[in-house]
């Protein structure tokens, strides 16, 4: 049941995007997130969309798979779209049905916001789909290193991140198992009143928390017996390497930003 989730999954591969250094990918995604907000007219949004599609192509991740995994987010996108359509009352009146009035500006804003949402989600999913959780945290740790000067716990943060990313699939599998065990005992989450449904979540959450805590304890013990002492003086097995691909990717992004700047109204 949980197996369709795309978020937080990693699909190993050998595409241009897969082979980028995690640092450049992270920088890329962060800058891209900011750049999305530059777009404010049809051409600039079209450019964003096109650029996102190109990135997906370059990653060789199947578009159908990505879209399929977006279903949970689609609901959110549809919701904001409708909000804009019904509550923006500017521009020409396009369509009227009873008290429902749809204005040109509302439709336009709705579409813009949906595109914005979509490209943000697609790009961040692309990051996690093409970069192993370990590389992401390695990259993040290196990028955040300067913050150590102000006593920011960079290593601990990176460790926490890698542990949580590592355990997302495990927890999903576990949820699936417990869900099935309770279904077999006649619990029913998908029908009944709101109150009944909320009550039906308890038999799911309690075992899940119990096992998460047990796992955390086991992990802590396992790390300690293997001599984990925090980040001090720790060296790396996997070395990060910046090559021409990374520079190229960031240059392309720069070009896109410049183009956005000139295209925006």
């Amino acid at each position: 049941m949980m197996e369709k989730m795309v978020f937080g999954r990693y699909i190993p591969g050998d595409s241009f995007v897969h082979r980028l250094d995690p640092r450049s990918k992270l920088i890329f995604v962060f800058i891209f997130i900011a750049a999305v907000f530059l777009a404010n007219n049809t051409v600039s949004y079209a450019l964003l969309l096109a650029f996102t599609l190109l990135s997906i192509l370059a990653s060789k991740v199947r578009i159908g798979f990505l879209i399929g995994g977006l279903k949970p987010v689609m609901f959110l996108i549809a919701f904001t779209f409708l909000l804009h359509i019904f509550f923006t009352k500017e521009g020409d009146l396009l369509f009227q049905l009873g008290f429902l009035k749809i204005y040109e500006e509302g439709l336009r804003q709705g579409i813009y916001i949906s595109i914005r949402f979509l490209v943000l989600v697609l790009m961040t999913s692309l990051l996690t789909l093409t970069t192993s959780p370990i590389s992401i945290t390695d990259g993040l740790e290196v990028l955040l290193n300067p913050l150590k000067k102000v006593k920011f716990p960079v290593h601990e943060l990176a460790l926490m991140m890698s542990i949580s990313l590592r355990f997302i699939p495990t927890l999903m599998d576990e949820t699936d198992k417990i869900l099935k065990a309770q279904l077999a005992r006649g619990s029913d989450i998908s029908s009944g009143t709101m109150k009944e449904r909320i009550q039906a979540v308890v038999p799911l959450l309690v075992p899940l928390f119990v096992s998460a805590f047990k796992r955390a304890e086991d992990l802590a013990v396992a790390m300690e017996v293997r001599g984990y002492r925090g980040g001090e003086g720790r060296t790396r097995y996997r070395q990060l390497k910046w090559d021409w691909r990374d520079t190229t990717a960031l240059l392309i992004l720069l070009a896109v930003i410049v183009a956005l700047w000139f295209l925006r109204g």
Binding site: K4, R9, I11, K177, G186, D188, S191, S211
Partner: protein, 290 residues
């Protein structure tokens, strides 16, 4: 309640890069009232098969017939609940399903969900606590304060209290101590006999399969490769080895003995008792390996 799988296939995560076909064209019949053991190497699809028996998984191809109900790809979730009352499943490591504040409530959870009255559910819970040999006072304890083996018993009681017609067991005794294993396996067998319950057991223990089952299904790479009574299944050790399975210890001993004594291989001795009788008869005749 007869159970039959017809050309059943199941694919996990269909349509994603993680797609994995776990069952191919499985045709299986489990007669009402039988004690069926399912054996197979790890990853052969046993647990996947089990989850079809009460509609937790719907086949991606083929039909599952459970009594009068048919489950196919299109079957709606609502139609499955009545099946789940009749078919109880004890999962691998069932202690992970415990959640209530005390053991009594946890065992009552299943029966209450299926519409049993509060009083009756409580009576059943108390009865099963005793039946599973849990110490007195367990009913009021938190399930999380129990030992691993006790938690397992509580979880099993939680399924038995639903009093299903068909009991499905996925390695119910994995990780228990030897005495506890035997106790629980004997209990299942007793229930099977007394209540005329259809029992389906997935196990890695050839000894358990040989001792308790009257029908066996061998799974290999998501396919049902052999079905029949244990006497037939365990007769051909070489074929089982191809599926990376063995024979019970009693049978290996018997074969060694036969070889040493120059006897032709006889029908496999499925239990220690049968082996002892076989040896006694042969030695009584004045034969035997020197």
């Amino acid at each position: 309640m007869d159970i039959a799988l017809e050309q059943v296939g199941y694919t996990y995560a269909a349509g994603t890069p993680f797609q994995k076909q776990a069952l191919h064209d499985v045709n299986v019949r489990i007669p009402s009232g039988s004690y069926t053991a399912i054996i197979g190497h790890t990853g052969s699809g046993k647990s996947t098969l089990l989850q079809h028996l009460n509609g937790l998984l719907k086949p991606t191809a083929g039909i599952v017939r459970i009594g009068d109900t048919q489950v196919t790809k299109e079957t709606k979730g609502k139609q499955l609940k009545p099946i789940r009352r009749k078919v109880g499943i004890v999962f691998q490591f069932p202690e992970h399903q415990l959640f209530e504040e005390n053991v009594l409530k946890d065992i009552m959870f299943g029966p209450l969900n299926f519409g049993v009255e509060e009083e009756e559910a409580k009576a059943r819970a108390l009865r099963w606590i005793e039946r599973l040999g849990l110490p007195e006072g367990t009913a009021e304890k938190s399930p999380f304060d129990l030992s691993g083996g006790q938690m397992r018993r509580v979880a099993i009681a939680g399924v038995l209290a639903m009093e299903p017609d068909v009991l499905v067991l996925d390695e119910p005794t994995a990780g228990l101590d030897p005495a506890g294993r035997k106790e629980i396996m004997d209990l299942f067998y007793e229930l099977h006999e007394q209540r005329d319950m259809t029992t389906i057991l997935v196990t890695h223990s050839m000894e358990d399969a040989a001792r308790y089952a009257d029908h066996m299904i061998v799974m290999h790479d998501g396919m049902d490769v052999l079905q029949g009574p244990p006497g037939e299944v365990f007769a051909d050790a070489e074929r089982l080895a191809e599926w990376r399975l063995g024979v019970p210890r009693t049978v290996s001993f018997q074969r060694l003995y036969e070889e040493g004594a120059g006897l032709p291989p006889g029908p496999p001795a499925l239990t220690e008792e049968q082996l002892a009788a076989y040896l006694a008869a042969d030695l009584g005749k004045g034969g035997g390996a020197s």
